[in-house]
């Protein structure tokens, strides 16, 4: 029996799972609190102590989002163009984008960047052969600061050497890679993504003390969001003889954020539609920092709006829950992030928060179709991805996984439940639930044996 031990060191829990690779079977799983502040191995050992036979595993790999995750600052020129391209590269690498800057960095921006304490700075700006002045200015600003994190230069190739020179002369750890937007609105984020991941492996893991796990396992090999994205790609595209599911979305509703991944071209599904704006990545990840079930519950509630929340409670047949009551509950969730609903009323409040986190996160992820009336008749403009034809929406995160009716939460994604008719949200996808918290593990396993990883996902993801 060939075993693989796959570990997700999360910000709260360290989750361990053991798989039998020949039998395509989950043989056991366990979790314990993450202890990265003191020594990450304490929590890991505790989690492993409840897992029989892990020592025999041939592969022992981990991903991590502990110690703040992989914190990145993205810098570009125009907000909708290179700054957005840099942001997408950072998100695609599994990073947490602390902030995105555009145009020339000011002294005030620099103060801000110092306090944000990122792990990596991603510096872009200008198409190849295009604007050089801005990225050179920004390189000088970074060079003149006492920031010591690695800087990745992924801007105008005609300025790259000069920019690299300015940063290196000032003693900054500098890496050059291809431009994230080599031609106008053409996205090229793969090289930057790859480089971010290498720096994560070589530097950030040590810096965060995550390399201590090496005494027990082979090591931490990627940030958790990158593992989930990898799993989603594999599940959509398939591997060799093993077919994938086709275009899909993965929605992860967490305590602090809601992540949405789409693996789909997003091209216009109707004829005669003009596609505008920055090219969309086939594998796209967005993160909503204000939409979460616990820590971000108050900001989620304010994004929903109190009137809309009350209306939805009424539609569910709970018009008797007073505003004071559900607002008190929402505040409680913010403070006591471990809280689990104790009765049906609390459960419906939690469910509605979850459904709306899904709805709003999907609304921000998908593109929109605008109709413009011209002298030649109506004309359609699409911005972003058309995900109306998505076949599968896969849900993960506590509110979905531990729910009696995960379909109620995931239905927030549907076109008919969006409040805006122009949104290109999924129309009639099938829903699946990641009941065994398998996705991150499957992303890790995909690095070794993609075919087995795919078969595991197909076996354990549960249709709703």
């Amino acid at each position: 029996m060939e075993l693989a031990l796959l570990i997700d060191i999360g910000s709260t829990y360290t989750k361990v799972a053991l798989f039998d690779l020949q039998g395509i079977r989950l043989t056991g799983r366990n979790q314990a609190y993450t202890t990265v502040e003191r020594d990450v191995t304490i929590g890991l050992k505790k989690a492993l102590s409840g897992l029989q036979g892990w020592e025999q595993a041939r592969y022992k790999l981990a991903c991590s989002s502990a110690a703040g995750g992989l914190k990145i600052i993205a810098i570009g020129l125009v907000p909708d163009l290179t700054a957005e391209a840099a942001r997408r590269a950072a998100l695609g690498a599994g990073g947490k984008v602390l902030k995105t800057y555009s145009y020339e960095l000011t002294n005030r921006d620099m103060e801000d960047i110092k306090t944000l304490d990122s792990d990596i700075i991603l510096l872009a700006g200008g198409t190849d052969g295009g604007n050089k002045d801005n990225i050179i200015h920004n390189a000088r600003m970074l060079a003149g600061s006492n920031l010591d994190q690695p800087v990745i230069v992924a801007g105008n190739k005609s300025a790259a050497e000069e920019v690299g020179g300015i940063l290196r002369k000032a003693g900054k750890e500098t890496y050059l890679t291809e431009n994230v937007m080599p031609e106008l609105e053409e996205l090229n984020i793969e090289p930057a993504r790859e480089l971010i991941r290498n720096i994560f492996l070589k530097k950030i893991i040590q810096a965060k003390g995550l390399d201590r796990v090496n005494e027990l396992i082979d090591g931490v090999i990627m940030p958790t969001p990158a593992a989930v994205l990898k799993a989603a790609e594999l599940l959509a595209d398939g591997f060799a003889e093993e077919e994938g599911l086709g275009e899909l979305m993965v929605i992860d509703v967490g305590g602090a954020t809601t992540d949405v991944h789409s693996i789909a071209s997003g091209k216009p599904s109707r004829p005669g539609v003009n596609w505008r704006g920055l090219e969309e990545p086939y594998s796209k990840r967005t993160v909503e920092g204000d939409l979460g079930m616990r820590y971000s519950a108050p900001s989620l509630y304010s994004a929903i709006g109190s009137d809309s929340f009350r209306e939805q409670l009424e539609e569910c047949g709970y018009s008797d829950i007073s505003k004071d009551k559900y607002e008190a509950m929402i505040n409680r969730l913010h403070q006591d992030v471990e809280y689990i609903p104790k009765n049906q009323e609390e459960q419906i409040i939690d469910n509605l928060l979850g459904r709306n986190a899904v709805r709003l996160a999907v609304a921000r992820h998908v593109g929109l179709l605008k109709t413009i009336y011209t002298p030649m008749g109506a004309s359609s403009l699409q911005e972003g991805k058309d995900l109306t034809g998505i076949k599968y929406v896969i849900g993960t995160g506590g509110i979905i996984v531990n729910n009696d009716d995960p379909g109620f939460i995931l239905a927030g994604a549907l076109y008919r439940n969006q409040k805006r008719p122009e949104l290109l949200a999924p129309v009639e996808p099938d829903f699946m639930v990641d009941r065994e918290y398998l996705l991150a593990a499957a992303g890790l396993l995909a690095e070794i044996t993609p075919e087995t990883s795919l078969r595991l996902m197909k076996k354990y993801l549960e249709k709703v």
Partner: protein, 147 residues
């Protein structure tokens, strides 16, 4: 220096006329320019953003459906706000509805801050010749044009 001068090209407003846009792209390419074509139904903001990121030397705006005055007004000011106020901006096409006196129309667009305006039926070569001259006047004669 072998870098080509860069022209941002597009059809402004709600205008979907794509053929002239393609012809201009070919003509500019053949004349040795790098063309950044933002296509039809382009907004002023898209012209400005494209010109900033690509470090463009000129913006070429087409308008063929008669709403040119409404669509084109304010582009120069937006460029000024965005820090590329001295970029060359040309406009051409069926800029106004009906048979109006061309000289008046031309004056209207020059007053809006366009460096050059062209009536319907202008050959691409005419405007390309002007562009080369304008760039040379600005000291940008370093390019070796293909003969």
């Amino acid at each position: 220096m072998t870098a080509k001068p860069i022209v941002v090209l597009g059809v402004i407003g709600a205008d979907v006329h794509a053929i002239g846009n393609q012809i201009l792209e070919h003509a500019l390419n053949d004349a040795g320019f790098k063309v950044v074509n933002i296509g039809v139904m382009a907004s002023q903001k898209e012209f400005v953003n494209a010109a900033i990121e690509t470090g463009a030397d000129a913006i070429w705006v087409s308008s063929l459906y008669g709403h040119g005055e409404m669509d084109c007004r304010g582009l120069r000011e937006k460029c000024q706000e965005a820090g590329i106020g001295d970029i060359l901006i040309y406009v051409g096409g069926n800029l106004v509805i009906g048979k109006q006196d061309w000289e008046n129309t031309k004056k209207l667009f020059l007053n809006m801050g366009y460096d050059r305006a062209y009536p319907p039926g202008t050959l691409p070569e005419t405007a390309i010749k002007d562009l080369k001259e304008d760039l040379q006047k600005r000291g940008k004669s370093r390019w070796n044009w293909p003969s």
